[in-house]
Structures are given as C-alpha cells and as structure tokens.
C-alpha cells in the first residue's frame, strides 16, 4: 500500500506530465530536424510557425463553436486542426517562395539561412501578435479530465490521487499517430524516399532525376503539419500565448540536437529525454521516499538533486555533455 501510494504520487507529478510535455517537444523537434536534414539550416522561425498555426486553428475553432459544431467530450480544436495545418502549409510555401528560395538559388551558406530564418521569426512573431494578440488564450473545450484526483482516490482507496487530463491523453495518442504516419511516409512512399535521398546526398539525388522543388515543397508542408499539430496540442494542454511559443524554441532545439539533428528518431527520443530530465532532476524525493523507506529512514530534507532555479540549466548541461562525447547526438545525426 505504502509502495503504491508512492508510485501513484510519482506518476501523478512526474511521469504523466513529463510524458505529455515530451510528446509536444518531440513533435516540435521533428519539424526542426526535417528542415535541417533536407533544407540544411537551423530554422529559428519554428517556434513562431507553431504559434501562427495555433493562432489560425484557434480562430477556426471559435468559428466552429459559434456555429454550434463541437466534438462533444473532445476539444473542438481537433476538428479545426486539419484546416489550420493547410493554412500554415500555405503560409510556409509562400514564405519559402518569397524568402528562402532566393537564398537557395544563391547557394547561400547555412549560417546565412539561419540568420534569414531569424528574420522570418521576427516577422511571424509580429504577425502572431497583430492577429491573435499577446494575451493568454484558452481554447480547450469538452471534458477536462479523463480521471480526476478525487475519482482516483475513491476508486482505489489510496491516500494519493492521480489525475489524467483529456488533453494529456490526446497529446500522447496524436503524437504516436503522427510519428507512425511520418515514418511510414518517409520509409514507404516514393516521395518520402526521394526526400531521404535528397537529404543523404543532394547531387546524387539530382542526378537520379528527383525534382528538388517538389522535395522542398513537401518538406514545408510536413513541417507545417508537425508545427501546427505540436502547437495546438501544447496550447490545448496548457494555453496559447505568443511569448510562450517563442520560449519553446530552446528546449525544442536541445531535443533535436541531443537526439542527433537531422535524424527523426533522435528528435523523438531527444524530446522525451529533455522533458523527463527537466522534471526529474529538480524533483524532491522527500514524499516518495517517506512512502518507500521504513519510518526510521524517512528523510528530513527535500532530497532534491538540484534546486528548481537550475531547471533552465538542465537542458543546456545535457546538450553540452552530449555534444562533448557524441557530437552527432545520441542517434547518428549530422555533425554540427
């Protein structure tokens, strides 16, 4: 019983939230990694692409709700998501045609493209604020919990409770579906294979008749889909705020690089790794140990590895350690 209480406590505060956060980071990191693998630059505008896509989805959700269309217990935003993805895809294609295409034709160095993406980031940042405002927007409707703390306690008779939010469950399920679909696309379809060929060796790919423009277009559409999905899931689970999405850029990049930038598998592992590291390293074990250890050994202090103040540093430390010992990331990505 004591052991179960400790386990439930740990699950409620560490495992469930970290898993949901990890899934959101992984989806974001996948978008970053795709751009890096195929278009060969670090896309700083990714966080704001997420914000823009989410903003569009929020507006569409509001329209749907106004017409009385909802998804019952599920958030209506899921219904608006496909249209949001399409709109974001179009925006990315237009951005590419207006901005990136010019530099690609110049065969500009990756570092120049990084700075260009920084410019795109500021523009998108501004557009998001102009169209959707700077305020906190909550757009999750439907049933809030799969199971609440009280229900869990009543069901099991344990002292500790456990809550699972609907949005956390949706996040995990959607993330798994999107990841499977992405891997199927990259490995099984002709277009996916041509993208991988283009990523591995651009010259060879061109020689074998792959249309580079098509590869670029498909990449942006995929990136739009991943970014919007990640952004909407994150917004549903927490809330939408332009500034928060900008801040997500750091952990997403950390996830992509730790996993091995340019490698989709790495992005997923990296996302979960960063999320779990952020939560566990600063987690005080006091209460769990009080449950798990005999009474005489119960800890007096907080039993915390690092104070919460250092939470930001955790992603950086992992990043530095990985780059020192495995410059290509945990999975073989491109060396940077």
């Amino acid at each position: 019983m004591e052991f179960l209480n400790g386990l439930v406590f740990l699950t409620n505060f560490v495992i469930i939230p970290a898993a949901a956060y990890g899934a959101q980071l992984a989806l974001g990191a996948l978008g970053i990694t795709l751009v890096y693998a195929i278009l060969r630059f670090s896309n700083f505008a990714h966080g704001d692409t997420m914000a823009l896509g989410t903003g569009i989805t929020i507006k569409l959700t509001a329209v749907l709700v106004a017409f009385g269309i909802t998804l019952g217990p599920l958030p209506t935003a899921l219904l608006a998501l496909p249209i949001g993805i399409a709109a974001t895809g179009v925006i990315l294609l237009v951005t590419d045609w207006l901005v990136y295409k010019f530099y690609r034709e110049q065969k500009a160095k990756p570092v120049i493209l990084v700075i260009v993406s920084l410019g795109v980031m500021f523009v998108m940042n501004g557009l998001t604020r102009v169209f959707f405002g700077v305020r906190d927007i909550q757009f999750a409707d439907g049933e809030r919990f799969l199971i609440t703390v009280r229900q869990f306690r009543d069901m099991t008779g344990l002292d500790e409770g456990l809550a699972i939010r609907t949005t956390q469950a949706i996040t995990l399920v959607t993330a798994v579906i999107v990841m499977i679909a992405l891997f199927w696309f990259l490995n099984k379809t002709r277009t996916g294979k041509s993208m991988r060929a283009f990523s591995d060796n651009e010259d060879l790919a061109l020689l074998s008749g792959i249309d580079p423009d098509r590869v670029v277009r498909v990449t942006w559409l995929l990136v739009g889909a991943l970014a919007t999905t990640a952004g909407v899931l994150y917004g549903l689970d927490k809330s939408f705020k332009a500034f928060t999405y900008f801040q997500l850029l750091l952990p997403m990049f950390a996830a992509a690089i730790v996993g091995g930038i340019g490698n989709p598998k790495g992005a997923i592992v990296g996302g979960f790794l960063i999320a779990f590291a952020e939560v566990t390293v600063t987690y005080p074990l006091k209460k769990v140990l009080t449950y798990w250890l005999p009474e005489s050994m119960a800890p007096e202090g907080l039993v915390q590895l690092l104070s919460g103040d250092y939470k930001f540093a955790v992603s950086f430390i992992i990043l530095i350690i990985v780059l020192l010992f495995r410059p290509t990331g945990l999975f073989k990505g491109q060396s940077i």
Binding site: N12, F13, V14, P17, A18, Y21, V134, R135, D136, Q138, F145, T148, V149, R150, G161, A163, R165, Y234, G235, D237, K238, S239, K241, F243, T244, F246, Q247, L248, E278, V279, T282, Y283, P284, L285, K286, K287, V288, L302, Q304, S307, G308, D309, K311, F312
Partner: protein, 398 residues
C-alpha cells in the same frame, strides 16, 4: 585632448542654453513600460492610464501657462536592462523628455534609475516597481513610486495568514526582482511570526509547462501555496497545474496575482483562495474606472491606476514648481502628493492646476489614494480579498 575638451565645453554650453530655453516650453513625458516581453498583456492599459492623465491636462490647457504635454512611449521590455537603458537614454537625450513615467518591472527600473535618470538628472516615477531594494537605492531625490514596497506587503500577507491560523506554507515566486524581493520579505516576516515556509522555489515566466515546479512544491507540502507571480504568466500555470494534480487547493495571491481574468480562467477551484493587493476604500478608484471606460481601456488592469497617478504627479509637481525642469520640480512631488491641502481625485487635474496657480496646497489622492512616505514610495494600503463564487470580494482593508 584639447579638441575633446573644447567640444565638451561647447556641447555643455549649448545644452545649457537649450535647457534654459526649454524652461517654460512644452512638456514631454517619457512613458517607459514593457510593451513587449512578459508584461506585454498589462502594459497597454498602464500606458493608456498615463496618457489619460496627459490628455486631461491638455484638455484643461492651463499647465505652466498653456504648455502642451506630449507622452512618448518607449519599450522597457521588463527583463532586458540593456534595452531598457538604451530606450530611456534615447528618450532623454534624443526626445529631450522632462520626466519619465516608468519603468514597470523592478529590475529595469533600477537600471534606468542608475544609468539614465541620475546621470541626466531626470525625475522618474514608477507605477509598478515594488522591489524593497529600490527603497534604499541611491536616487539623488529623483525617484518616486506610486506602488508600495513589497517589504510592507510581506508583513500584510503574514498578518492575513496569522489571522486565518495558517502556520505552514509552500512558497513559489517569479524569478525576477519583484518575485524574489516579495518572497524574501514575506518569508522573513512569516518566519519571525512563528510560521514555517516548507520550500521557497522560483519559477520562470513565459513557459507553458510548470509540472516540475509543482512537483517540487507538492513534495515539500504545506497548508496553502503562496504564489508570488503574475496572473497571465507562471503564476497562473502553477495554480492550474496544482489544482489539476491535486497538489494544493488553497492559494495565497499577492498583488501580481489578483485579477478577474485569473478567476475566470481557473474557475470554481479558486474559490476560497485569498490574498491582498494595493488598494483603498477611497472613491478615487471608481472615478478612475469611469474615466477609463470613457477612454475605452480597462481601468481595472493591474497598475493602470498607479500609472495615471504617476503621470499626474509629474505634471502637478511641475505646476507647483512653475518649471518643467526635473531639478526644479523634484522637490515638489512629495508636497503635491501628501496632505495638507485640497484632496484631488481623478478627473480633477484641471482644478488641481488652478489651485496650485492660486498658491494653494493640494493633496493628490488620485486613483490609488496616493500617500508617499520615506524616500518617496506609496505608503501601502492593502485590500484583503477572497475569491467567493468566482468573484474577487474585498473582505478587509489593511
């Protein structure tokens, strides 16, 4: 070297003439607030509050024999001291502002005070910087604030907890000068009164995910959770997450956390939580809200009334001194703010100017019952509030 000296001397001479010429000319007031950054959601109402006071004085048209007042906005960013200093420097040296209404966050306010206001001798009145550290900062008599120091709020919060019989609390604060200052002031006061703070943990604003912070707070435990943060930032995230995971169910909300938006967002779960924010039962607050509604902005927004008062004090002090030069009117700020004299409420700035012209004393009450103490900071009247049925209800004044 000789050229440099000559150039410097010449510049000083010209600058002197320029200032002398500007003595009775039009007035420019810099409005330095974080229009981008973590406070970007409350600064529009703050800026509008200051501009409302300026518009009122311009409508009267009597300040300093018909001077027109212009408000010039600049971005403090709230977090980037370098950017804030550059923005304020631009206002003073480029636009030639006579005084600064700002800044908002305590950190950038301290930076602007030391790097811009003091070297240039420009008066600064902050509507919202509440860090206790600013009480003792060197200011050459140039710095005032219409918000109270958080040292006072820490004591008030302790009194409220003691009255409710709560002896063990967990504490989380936003990781900046405001949060840290308030948390330290509160912890010192609370522990002195015999209470226990189980954990004092910082949280970063502007993130969506606060599960690890809440996990740490839950593991440390406590009867209630004190959240020294912002309503639309980490503070809200922490509360939402604590309620979802069942970590805490009662929260203590200091000034940055009291807002109807928070109550609406969180819903029923916030009922029973309590806190305090600067406020009085003075009639000024409602008058200001009516004016704000006319001017089409949210008068209940955090620190919007303080912003109105800060701008009004600057202009009234100028009138009292008969000059728009900071060195002349810095000594008048305390006089117009405090008794004795005729009480001045929002919407009566024109009347206040007339009274000052007639040589009479005024006691500026404004939207927040301004009473400046010590080195020139608000004395700190607090409203004790409780969330009841989704409403913020005032239960006491302290």
């Amino acid at each position: 070297m000789k050229h440099l000296m000559m150039a410097t001397a010449a510049t000083a001479l010209f600058a002197g003439q320029a200032f002398a010429a500007a003595h009775t000319g039009d007035v420019k007031i810099g409005i330095v607030l974080g229009f981008t950054g973590p406070l970007e959601s409350i600064t529009p109402a703050m800026g509008a509050g200051a501009e409302l006071a300026i518009a009122e004085v311009n409508a009267a048209g009597t300040l300093l024999d018909g001077a027109t007042v212009t408000g010039i906005r600049a971005d403090s960013t709230c977090i980037d001291a370098g950017a804030a200093t550059a923005a304020a420097e631009g206002l003073v040296t480029g636009d030639g502002v006579n005084a600064i209404m700002g800044a908002d966050c305590s950190g950038v306010t301290g930076a602007i005070l030391q790097n811009v206001a003091r070297p240039n001798g420009v008066v600064m009145i902050s509507p919202s910087a509440t860090s206790p550290g600013l009480s003792t900062a060197e200011d050459d008599g140039l710095f005032f604030r219409t918000a109270p120091s958080d040292a006072r709020q820490g004591v008030v919060m302790t009194e409220i907890l003691n009255d409710r019989g709560i002896t063990e609390v967990a504490l989380t604060y936003t990781n900046n000068d405001y949060g840290k200052g308030l948390a330290d002031a509160f912890q010192a006061a609370f522990e002195e009164s015999g209470g226990t703070v189980t954990i004092s943990a910082a949280h970063e604003d502007g993130k969506g995910d606060y599960s690890s912070e809440v996990a740490a707070l839950a593991a440390a435990g406590g009867e209630v959770l004190v959240v020294a943060g912002y309503t639309d930032q980490g503070g809200k995230g922490i509360i939402q997450n604590s309620i979802d995971t069942g970590a805490f169910d009662t929260f203590v909300l200091p000034d940055g956390m009291v807002g109807q938006q928070l109550v609406d967002d969180i819903g029923d779960a916030l009922n029973g939580s309590f806190g305090q924010f600067p406020g009085t039962d003075s009639a000024g607050a409602e008058m200001f809200q009516a004016l704000a509604a006319e001017a089409d902005f949210d008068g209940t927004g955090a620190f919007a009334p303080e912003s109105y008062d800060a701008a009004a004090l600057i202009m009234l002090a100028m009138e009292a001194a008969g000059s728009n030069q900071s060195t002349d009117f810095m000594g008048e700020v305390m006089n117009v703010a405090n008794a004795p004299g005729t009480e001045i409420f929002p919407g009566e700035l024109g009347k206040a100017i007339e009274l000052l012209k007639a040589g009479e004393d005024i006691d500026y009450v404004g939207a927040t019952a301004v009473e400046l103490i010590g080195e020139g900071e608000s004395a700190g009247n607090y409203r004790e509030i409780e969330i009841q049925d989704g409403e913020i209800v005032t239960v006491n004044f302290r």
